[in-house]
Subunit: 644 residues, 2 copies
């Protein structure tokens, strides 16, 4: 049924874990991947829990866990699986993410053998459901300042976990309101020597029967803007005691004499190293939201290919709505961006596997190999943070655009778009608020690993830049030779031609990213200790722009690399036009910047808009092939308007 | 409690119907205006129906109906009341709109005394609940081509209403699924003479007990993306007979001999005259969504004024998030636009009252006074269509931005933003799809009333422009002398200064609107009968831009007129800065256009961005006053995060 061009596109998008994607297409059954519309919150929660267990029963819970403890496949495969699961009910997806990714991932990555042996099997089979309890009422983004404490009691060899204030209450915690039996609780670790910064402690929170344990207060966040099947709740602890062994001790421990021990000296660096091991969560959220956007586009484009409204002169039949430029303008650039982002997602997933796949991060800072590796990890975290922001916003925007493009039909729950839209909404602010993440990306680009790592606040960053950066911009995009050649060919081209060429677009992406970062560095270098906040704050829009420009470049680079690797033919040609549309749409959206900075003339700027319109018309006949290229199993698309 | 500046702002925003707004603030009780979170659809519907009856019991249902039949206040007052009601549950708002505005409005405006005497009292008291059945499965935007037929049977003096195909089924009809007892059904009226175009027929659909009448098939649209309290459903008719008297006959009738009679010759013009009497619906939808945006901004700005995250150097306390430029950038330009749009809303409401308030539209096309009046009505419809599009999109965008600005807290249903966001979503595509409406605005600007009226399709329009427009652009913005003086003072200013001045901004708005329309006219004049669709289609993005630019100018004009009318003092100064922020933000968003067309230099373009940032900082200390200026009763804001 799938035409050969669509098959080739599927192969290109599938990338390294094609076998896993293919299996998932066969095995992720609509019977338990989807949820009916109109369930009550209680029923949706119950269904989601049941589906989670079904999914675990099929063995999907094992993907990404250490093989030594019963896990399957490699680490980053779990991100790929997550993308595929995002084609079903997103409540189930987030429940999966909470259970296997956040809770299970924290036990696997922050814990050691004693935790792995004791818990991983039950986690992978969903016998033990758990929480990842980081966010507090008072601290969502600035988690380094969490208020919850875990104080070591020398006399009993126990940790005493406590929520000292109402704002220390853990909140929005998935699996907390109903299902969780344990929680990885992030808390300031205090020994008789003092405060060692945020650590994770494995806390039982409910007994077998589901009752809260003594000292644990559990609340229910209740109704939310989406994800009705996820039981988000609150957790507060009143001096609850657990054995010292419950400390997840991969990066810091308390020895038998009650002394704190860690290979990492700085409390801040230690915390961000721990967070760094959790970068997979952001990879997953980006990939999942990107997959949801592709599903929405499939629905809207299929409908737009059949729906007719208003007649053209000399034609009895009304016009198919996708033949209108305005409709193409809404859907096709977003389709193109979805393609581009998918390749970028594959690239970070591969990089995640390379850096985090087999071993825990190297900790000895003096070793040159370790330094290089830390550098690479920071580069990955920088890119993942920004890509998560760009992709989740793309998903929110795209699903909304698809909903509107389907008119009243798009508003009917049976057509799937509204629930997806509501569910994906929070992806923009969880696993890192997008605005904060883009700032993290900019910071990662502007300063060195060691300098910024322990100190995420703006003062620390600005001070360090002022003192040490000296105008040097750290360029981190690893680019292969073929792509560089492409960019080089653009040099010296006539200014008002070739706006439809990818090399020209690439050089525009380069210039945008480089100049934005360079000028940002210049602005921030002027900061002194006294005016640091003010200087940084006034540049905040510049910071966000520079981060986005960097990510856009990474996206185009990754997409073009994958495109280059395809065999010559119709599919490669088609994808080339799609990526050109992506690139030119991005330039068009920022054309004010290019004009302000003398990078394009007014006439060329208008030519970009004209080219976007022409590409839309050119791609119009291929839209069904292009959505087939997303490779979404038909049984997972139930929207009546999307049935061709 | 309200400070004097906020009070003055409330007075300025309240405009002509200040007394009604003030009464509404006192009388719209949270007890029945709000809905708890987490209701099932069935419970929410039941609550909404009960609240509708309570509201009618308080007499609110009478506002805007003819006094002769028990109505109260003037016609456009109903729009003002609708705005105030939008501060409560939006399901109730839409139910109100369906019952009193669409159903009641159609009976009042399309019907005559026989319908008014029989039904209006029961409609105003919500004793008779009814539907406005226009949209069909096959036709949402292009309602002139509805398939439902109403065929006159000479022998029985009855109309036979029929849905000939599945796509003729009426859908998304409010009050249809559960409550409606009657429906105003739009259908092609057919007599032995032939087809007379779309007319409205009053059809009983359920008996007293709620069972569907014979021949009437009623369906339930079920779960939607929002508005859970509104019982949208489907209606299909299988040769259902009603007396001829059920024809709503204000614009066309069947006489006792079975002849069709109407003062309007053209079927098309007749239909659009009927639609024209329903322009109030679009005024209401714009106003309601604008009010919802203001409520969302109040919640997000109050929260942003107290929420702290991350610390600044040399400060123990974390920074209040609204002190961050990025946060200001999200909320303050939207706050400014909300102010500006409110004044534009007041202006169209006043104009509606002037033109539609007391009498039905004049129909005799040959009378010069009638011609002038038709001209004025078209100008109003043109502006209302565009303003509805701009305001509803502003609401969707703003409530979403507010949700994200509140992070995880914004996603909790108790904080009100998510339900508002879901509910208001459909405002962008109902009562006219926004994209279609903007095209209507552009068409209204480009061609004369008579020429385009009967023929909304692109061919008709383009053909007429080609033949008759001759490059003349019809300029319809009525502007008072004081405002024109303001614009005139901007002439001759140095290009790189005064970007913070309103007169300069106004002249930019002028140039944008004029040039966009002029060049659009030039493009479309090239159309011939053969290439008309293609020419029009390729210019569609230009059409949308020109429409938006025109509306932006109308908005700024209206806002500045209201500003001019204020007494000198702190409130007027503050509002002046708010409107400057609105104007500069709009110019900033379109700065690529201004650069491309040589209206501003690159350095001036960057100065606009800098001015927006400065204005954000300048307005920051006044934000709580500014949201108090919206005049939203505290009892209607229940979000825990918005309690100061």
């Amino acid at each position: 049924m799938t035409n050969p061009i669509a098959s080739e596109l599927i192969t290109a998008l599938d990338g390294r874990w094609a076998d896993l994607r293919s299996e998932a297409r066969d095995q992720l059954s609509a019977d338990w991947m989807l949820a009916p519309t109109g369930l009550s919150v209680a029923d949706h929660r119950a269904l989601t829990t049941a589906s989670l267990k079904t999914l675990a029963g099929e063995g999907f819970g094992r993907v990404g866990f250490p093989v030594a403890y019963g896990g399957e496949r490699d680490y980053a495969a779990s991100c790929v699986l997550f993308e595929m699961q995002a084609l079903g009910d997103l409540s189930l997806l987030v429940k999966v993410g909470v259970q296997f990714g956040l809770f299970g991932g924290a036990v696997a990555r922050l814990g050691t053998d004693r935790h792995h042996s004791a818990y991983l099997e039950d986690i992978m089979t969903a016998k033990l459901l758990g929480c990842f309890a980081m966010t507090e009422v008072g601290h969502g983004s600035n988690v380094q300042e969490l208020e919850t404490t875990a104080t070591y009691d020398d006399s009993t060899h126990e940790l005493v976990v406590n929520s000292p204030t109402p704002s220390a209450t853990k909140t929005y915690i998935g699996n907390a309101a109903v299902d969780g039996r344990m929680a990885v609780v992030f808390a300031q670790l205090i020994t008789r020597e003092g405060d060692h910064g945020v650590h994770a402690v494995l806390m039982p929170i409910r007994d077998e029967g589901g009752a809260a344990l003594p000292g644990v207060t559990i609340g229910d966040n209740g109704d939310k803007g989406g994800l009705p099947g996820v039981d988000n709740g609150t957790l507060a602890f009143d001096h609850v005691r657990v054995p010292k062994a419950n400390l997840l001790n991969a990066f810091g421990d308390i020895d038998d004499d009650g002394n704190y021990v860690s290979d990492i000296d700085s409390a801040g660096r230690r915390f961000f190293t721990m967070l760094g091991t959790l970068v997979r969560g952001r990879v997953c959220v980006g990939g999942g939201s990107g997959a949801a956007a592709k599903k929405a586009l499939t629905i809207a484009i299929r409908y737009g290919s059949t729906r007719r409204q208003f007649s053209a002169p000399g034609d009895d039949q009304e016009v198919v709505v996708l033949d209108y430029l305005a409709h193409q303008r809404v859907l096709l650039p977003r389709l193109a961006k979805s393609y581009a982002l998918s390749f970028a997602q594959n690239a970070v997933t591969e990089r995640l596997q390379e850096l985090h796949g087999d071993v825990a991060p190297v900790l000895t800072a003096d070793d040159p190999a370790a330094k290089e590796r830390q550098e690479a990890q920071r580069e990955l975290e920088t890119r993942v943070a920004g890509l998560k922001a760009v992709t989740t916003w793309h998903a929110v925007d795209t699903i909304q655009a698809c909903r509107e493009a389907c008119g009243g039909a798009g508003y009917m729950a049976e057509n799937e778009l509204t629930q997806m839209r509501s569910d994906v909404d929070v992806f923009a602010t969880f696993e890192g608020d997008n605005t904060v993440l883009l700032q993290l990306t900019a910071k990662g680009l502007l300063t060195d690993y060691k300098e910024m790592w322990g100190d995420l606040d703006s003062a620390g960053m600005v001070g360090k830049i002022a003192a040490q950066l000296g105008g040097r911009i750290v360029e981190r995009t690893a680019r292969r030779a073929g792509i560089q050649r492409l960019v080089d060919t653009a040099t010296g081209r006539d200014d008002d031609s070739a706006t439809d060429s990818l090399p020209w677009a690439m050089s525009m992406f380069e210039q945008r990213a480089d100049h934005a970062l360079e000028t940002l560095g210049n602005r921030l270098r002027k900061a002194t200790k006294e005016n640091a906040f003010d200087i940084f704050n006034k540049a905040q829009d510049h910071v966000l722009f520079a981060a986005r420009a960097h990510i856009d470049r990474c996206v185009l680079d990754a997409a073009l690399e994958s495109h280059e690797a395809m065999a010559d033919g119709a599919a490669k040609d088609l994808l080339g036009r799609v990526l050109t549309l992506y690139a030119l749409s991005s330039i068009e959206a920022d054309r004010a910047w290019f004009l302000e900075h003398g990078r394009i003339s007014g006439s060329r700027s208008r030519a970009v808009t004209a080219s976007v319109n022409e590409l839309c018309a050119e791609l119009r006949p291929q839209v069904l092939t292009l959505v087939d290229g997303f490779g979404i199993p038909d049984e997972l698309i139930t929207a009546p308007i999307a049935q061709l």
